[in-house]
């Protein structure tokens, strides 16, 4: 964090997010990367609600919110309007994982297929938090949410794997697609800079742990984000013209270290250990490591 340039804050403190909110940190970093010459279009969700309770706003740049699922279409219109007026602001969408993976897919697909010069940031806290922690297409396998609760017939919680949204957007021909994490703020900022300066539709999915929804102490947000990477359950990578060009390497830890620290995975340990589910989650991390080649071999340095 200290390495990130501390300028005049465009995303001001005093918003209504929970203490230790991962998405709130992502918003701050985002505006550090974009600077003032930007227009932000926000989807309904925690970030929109905690940052703009009328008549207060945390946004020091032009900002618009319309609905939960139409942010990419709103941004398409903004971009066309700016183009027509010969204006230079960058257009950036920000939406949660629910807005992005689920209900907004139609609008995002349309905007990416048409090739608007926009950057879409998905802040991924892996569930619908604003409505009280329901499952989304981004919720990881095995996590408990209020709509994927563990029970006698569903001991593992969420039975489905996380949707591969970056691949879906890369398949649209997006010139630049990346994943990032608030655990690595400079990396996130650089990726945003690259995206907004790449013509055409670009996508960044930033991992933003949510202490309230995942069930960990509010001081542990960055540690949790880092553990997700260290276990291989989250991979930071970049795709240029559809090809993975760079992925952050790690000396992997067992997934259990990550799972055991969060209440959303508590059912995997209590009342009885669910070694089968934990093994499945380990297999997901192993597959990630294989796919992105992130395992640090002996004497290799990270990245």
């Amino acid at each position: 964090m200290a390495e990130v340039e501390q300028g005049c804050e465009l995303f001001s403190a005093g918003h209504r997010a929970c203490g230790g909110c991962g998405p709130a940190l992502a918003a701050r970093l985002l505006l550090k990367a974009t600077g003032k010459n930007v227009i932000i279009a926000s989807a309904t969700g925690c970030m929109e609600v905690f940052s703009t309770p009328y008549p207060e706003t945390a946004w020091g740049v032009p900002w618009i919110h319309s609905l939960f699922e139409n942010v990419a279409a709103v941004a398409s219109g903004i971009e066309a309007s700016l183009k027509r007026q010969g204006r230079s602001e960058k257009v950036v969408c920000i939406g949660g994982d629910g807005a992005t993976f689920d209900i907004g897919v139609l609008c995002i697909s349309g905007a990416f297929e048409r090739g608007h010069d926009i950057t879409y940031i998905c802040y991924d806290n892996e569930a619908y938090m604003n409505t009280g922690i329901q499952r989304s297409g981004a919720t990881p396998y095995g996590a408990s949410t209020t709509t994927s609760p563990p029970g006698a017939c569903a001991p593992g919680g969420n039975p489905l794997p996380k949707k591969d949204m970056p691949a879906i957007l890369a398949a649209h021909g997006a010139p630049y697609v990346a994943t990032a994490s608030i655990a690595y703020p400079n990396d996130f900022v650089q990726k945003v800079e690259r995206a907004i300066n790449t013509p055409g539709p670009c996508y960044i999915q930033v991992h933003t742990p949510c202490c309230t929804g995942w069930g960990f102490e509010s001081g542990e947000t960055l540690a949790m984000a880092k553990l997700a990477i260290d276990t291989g359950l989250w991979v930071n990578y970049e795709m240029v013209d559809g090809k993975v060009v760079k992925a952050k390497k790690v000396r992997r830890k067992p997934v259990e270290e990550y799972l055991a620290k969060q209440k959303r995975f508590r059912h995997l340990f209590k009342p009885a250990r669910r070694d089968d589910v934990i093994a499945n989650i380990q297999a997901i991390a192993d597959a990630n490591a294989e796919r992105f080649g992130i395992d640090i071999k002996r004497k290799e340095s990270s990245e």
Partner: protein, 384 residues
């Protein structure tokens, strides 16, 4: 100079002359000819606009919202299922006070699937905060587009508007139309000056979240703006008359109402048929007239009460049905005439493209005069 052309083409021609900077639309019968014509105009460099070929009506209106908020004059067109898909965005656009003009080539709503005309689509959006203007013929459809932009963009109003014209009956019909030239339109409708816009020079937040302490006041302000739009429409309609010789300064328009005992009330193209039927009934000695509603939103309640003050029987032709609640226009006309002593009857008619002829209008008048109403007119009981 009158030109003989298709209604959709006339609408596209006037939209072009209104100089929208961003157009986002999605094809649906019977609106398609309008958006195809506009796409061709853009392709031919006749119209200097960004044309966004969106993947749905939902995105069409969402893109219009973004474009408008960023400071451009925008345009869209739709109907029926397309408008239904826009439902959520419609409320949003009005609440965010964006002056978007959208043509509705009125069509019924499924199920059952029907591509034919009635006014169920736009009427179902009556509570959304959009102004709603209904055209009787293609000339009025053309003229109402210019007026709509003027009213919507009035900084005292800042609301979106539907310009409604009956699908097929008007959209696909060739009629002589006087199309104002570009210079005349420019003289009437100045370049768009947004009241506020998304702008890095002056950062503002649009579309915030309101707690119970503020929500009601937002709704109140929008409601007031709709009522203020009456004056704005009257002024814009009068100015239009001064410049083009066709006066639109009335929210409701009477036809042979002066000494009428019975009045029909209607909106859109059915008014033309009703006028012809009234001429025949008048020839036969019946004192019948018509009140045409031009602005369904804002609803001209007092204007209707005033225009119908001498009438004893009122028959409302409703090309829609609020299922389980009666015709939408009839319900509001009854409220407007409450206490006037007039007997008001509602007739659900011309749904899903069923033809209405002069004899049907005469039959409705007969029913009303016999005290029979609040019914579906012309039901084919043999297929029930």
């Amino acid at each position: 100079m009158l030109e003989f052309m298709e209604g959709s083409h006339a609408v596209a021609e006037i939209v072009k002359r209104c100089r929208p900077q961003v157009i986002a639309a999605y094809p649906i019968t019977p609106q398609t000819h309008i958006v195809e014509d506009l796409a061709q105009m853009v392709a031919n460099c006749e119209l200097d606009a960004e044309y966004i070929t969106v993947e749905s009506e939902f995105s069409a209106l969402s893109a219009c919202l973004g474009a408008s908020a960023a400071g451009s004059r925008v345009y869209s067109a739709t109907t029926s299922q397309g408008l239904a898909l826009m439902f959520e965005v419609c409320f949003n656009v009005a609440g965010m006070r964006q002056p978007i003009v959208m043509t509705i080539a009125n069509r019924s709503l499924g199920a059952p699937l029907s591509i034919w005309n009635d006014q169920q689509d736009s009427i179902s959006l009556r509570d959304s905060g959009w102004l709603q203007f209904y055209a009787e013929d293609n000339q009025e459809a053309v003229d109402l587009h210019m007026i709509a932009y003027k009213v919507c963009e009035d900084h005292d109003i800042l609301l979106p508007a539907f310009v409604c014209f009956d699908g097929f009956i008007l959209s696909h019909t060739y009629e002589p139309v006087a199309l104002p030239g570009q210079e005349e339109v420019d003289a009437y409708l100045p370049a768009f000056t947004p009241y506020q816009r998304l702008d890095a020079e002056k950062p503002l937040s649009f579309g915030m979240y309101a707690t119970p302490e503020y929500y009601t006041e937002f709704r109140y302000e929008t409601d007031r703006a709709l009522y203020r739009a009456k004056e704005s429409f009257i002024k814009a309609g009068r100015e239009f008359g001064e410049q083009f010789g066709r006066d639109y300064s009335a929210l409701v328009e009477g036809y042979r109402l002066e000494d009428a005992d019975t009045a029909l009330v209607a909106m859109g193209s059915i008014c033309g048929t009703a006028k012809d039927a009234i001429d025949e009934m008048r020839d036969a000695g019946k004192k019948v007239g018509l009140l045409k509603i031009r602005t369904y939103r804002p609803f001209p309640g007092p204007e209707i009460a005033d225009a119908l003050s001498g009438v004893s029987t009122v028959a409302v032709l409703d090309k829609n049905i609020s299922l389980g609640g009666g015709g939408a226009v009839g319900t509001e006309v009854k409220a407007a005439l409450y206490g006037s002593g007039a007997a008001v009857y509602d007739y659900i008619i011309a749904l899903g493209g069923r033809d209405v002829r002069k004899r049907d209008v005469a039959a409705v008048v007969d029913l009303a005069e016999k005290g029979k109403g609040d019914m579906f007119y012309g039901l084919r009981t043999e297929v029930l």
